[in-house]
Symmetry: C2
DNA sequence: TCTTACGGCACAAACGTTTGCGCTTCTTTT
DNA sequence: AAAAGAAGCGCAAACGTTTGTGCCGTAAGA
């Protein structure tokens, strides 16, 4: 049995050459004669030689591995994003170490710890919406492990991130509704501390103002995105004094929950009340009352872009040029209007 | 700046002790005196010492990393499964390296290669439905990397796997339909080469036979699960001589496609034609015409179980007891009847 | 013919850890 | 009081690779 994997040493011994010669021969180094080169390469093939990556990682202080930390893969946004990340990583011979925080701060911290111990070359993270302290990320600075945040960005200064500008899409969404004749428009937003929520709110207010519509704070409700709280928010909106005829929901899941609640209250969807949301998930194709339009956030592209900038950071680390500039990459969101069937 | 991470050597030098003493002290080894032990541990804390895992991996020939290869995370089944895997892995201080094959054989092979090079301690894989040769998995035997397959199992002998018995759930599904008065029941199945499809078929035939219903081969259609082919299959079923009043679909996605096609043909869902499927995805809660019932496959539990058995294999490798017995773990699927709303 | 150059290879250090073994210096036992 | 044991620590090898440096011999230039 070839239980024992072949090593450089083994090859060297059999060929009566030095280990360094074998190493260089396999790397096609110019200082090795063509004769020995082929002899080495041939024997390596015969013995099924595979370089021991763990040894190389160790020796080079580099693992060609990046860690990805995100709330949950069951959300289509993230599974899309990680595909972008993975494709880009593979293209550059990196692999991805995965960790789901499940929106739990403790888990997030533990994952960061594990990744640090595994000596990942860099980290890609979309923070948990319940994370309030950022020490665990700050700590990584000391270890010189670059981080690129995406989608859910912490409110820290001096960080690299890739995000989708929610404001532009929100404005498009509101304009779309106003074009359709709506005047009283509600919004079911997410946790206020998230940047993306702030942007949604800003877009909402800006678009209303530009159209000379009054901003009613009662029509803008923050939630934790749980079904219960979304139901409650929908209830409040539907029963508020100034009856909204349209609601912009934080994302498709929220929209679907809101639709469901509205139907329980016997409202006619797309008649009494219309919905617009964010994400543009494939499942909305199958639902009874999909949102009229969705703001697309391009998760795949975000993941890809985040990975690209992380690779840049990793490479720039070599020539220890202090990174004085921080990447802030913003993709524009875009309203996708669904066909009426 | 503490750019340079502390090492055992560094600590040893400062304390004028040997490296081995430091190592043992930090491991609470009994042969080290309490005095030096505390001195070492204290300094380690001060210097923010973190063991260099890459060195340890290298030295111990073990990476505490398992590779997970699956078709795509965007399918709810797999994102659920990987959660089970991850939770179990974390519990045992393992991390997971991720790779999506996107049902592409070449990608699958490349991922296997990468994982091998990264010296993962073991592999968890759900094979691509387009994979026809299994050499890349066979090859891993030589390297002594254990594999546990789950969900999509290759037709190889002498492998470990965890799967869900689709036959039992299928029989339950057919019985459910027969109870409801259906007599002519169609099935839209997946690729024949998948074991799970064979089981569905066996369950279908068995259940029909037990109920003394004739088996009509025209009512059982295999597809590649693409929307187009599902449409075509649905068309054939709806227009076959013996009009089926119910259809069992390979999974919820297939069911939703089939429903969509049936509606295009102006069939009344749950009246002219009923659907039952597999998976029990959350999205079916939001759809207009969810299947009447779904066969639950317990992806989280499958992932968990697969990870557990992989860990067992990894541990058993130490005491080089030849594994003569192969794990074949079968969970029972179970029909979940959806509430009528 | 003498110097210079270079092609082709070997030596050895280094990366950070773990661990078997051996060496002291005490303490205990007989 | 001598022998035996134990407690506490150091030495050094090993894991597999990369890479800077040095050496030898042959070929090219003057």
């Amino acid at each position: 049995m070839d239980k024992k994997l072949a090593t450089l040493k083994e090859i060297a011994k059999r060929l009566n050459v030095s280990i360094s010669t074998v190493s260089r021969a396999l790397h096609d180094h110019r200082s090795i004669g063509i004769r020995t080169k082929t002899r080495v390469q041939q024997l390596a093939k015969e013995l099924n030689y595979e370089p021991n990556q763990t040894a190389i990682f160790f020796q080079q202080r580099k693992t060609f591995t990046v860690g990805v930390i995100l709330p949950r893969l069951s959300e289509a946004f993230f599974s899309s994003a990680i595909s972008g990340i993975e494709d880009c990583a593979n293209k550059h011979n990196y692999t991805v170490l995965m960790g789901q925080s499940h929106d739990n701060e403790e888990r997030e911290k533990k994952i960061v710890e594990t990744m640090k111990n595994h000596r990942v070359d860099g980290l890609l993270v979309s923070i948990s919406k319940n994370t309030s302290s950022y020490e665990h990320f700050e700590a990584l600075r000391k270890y010189n492990i670059p981080i690129v945040f995406f989608d859910c960005i912490p409110r820290m200064s001096n960080i690299h991130y890739v995000a989708c500008n929610m404001q532009s899409g929100t404005i498009q969404a509101i304009n779309f509704l106003i074009d359709k004749g709506h005047r009283v428009i509600g919004m079911i937003n997410g946790p206020e501390k998230l940047l993306a929520c702030q942007e949604r709110q800003d877009g909402y207010m800006k678009a209303m103002a530009r159209n000379r519509l009054k901003f009613d704070p009662f029509l803008l409700i923050s939630t934790d995105l749980s079904t219960e709280m979304v139901y409650e928010a929908t209830r409040q909106l539907l029963n508020s004094k100034r009856k909204p005829t349209a609601i912009v929901a934080f994302n498709d899941y929220v929209a679907l929950d809101a639709v469901q609640y509205a139907r329980k209250e016997k409202r006619k969807i797309n008649k009494d009340i219309c919905f617009v949301s964010y994400a543009n998930l494939p499942i909305t194709n199958y639902t009874a009352f999909p949102p009229l339009a969705s703001v697309e956030q391009f998760p795949y592209q975000q993941g890809q872009k985040a990975m690209e900038t992380l690779l840049e950071l990793i490479d720039s680390k070599k020539d220890d040029s202090e990174v004085a500039t921080y990447f802030k990459i913003i993709l524009d969101s875009q309203l996708i209007i669904h066909e009426n069937k």
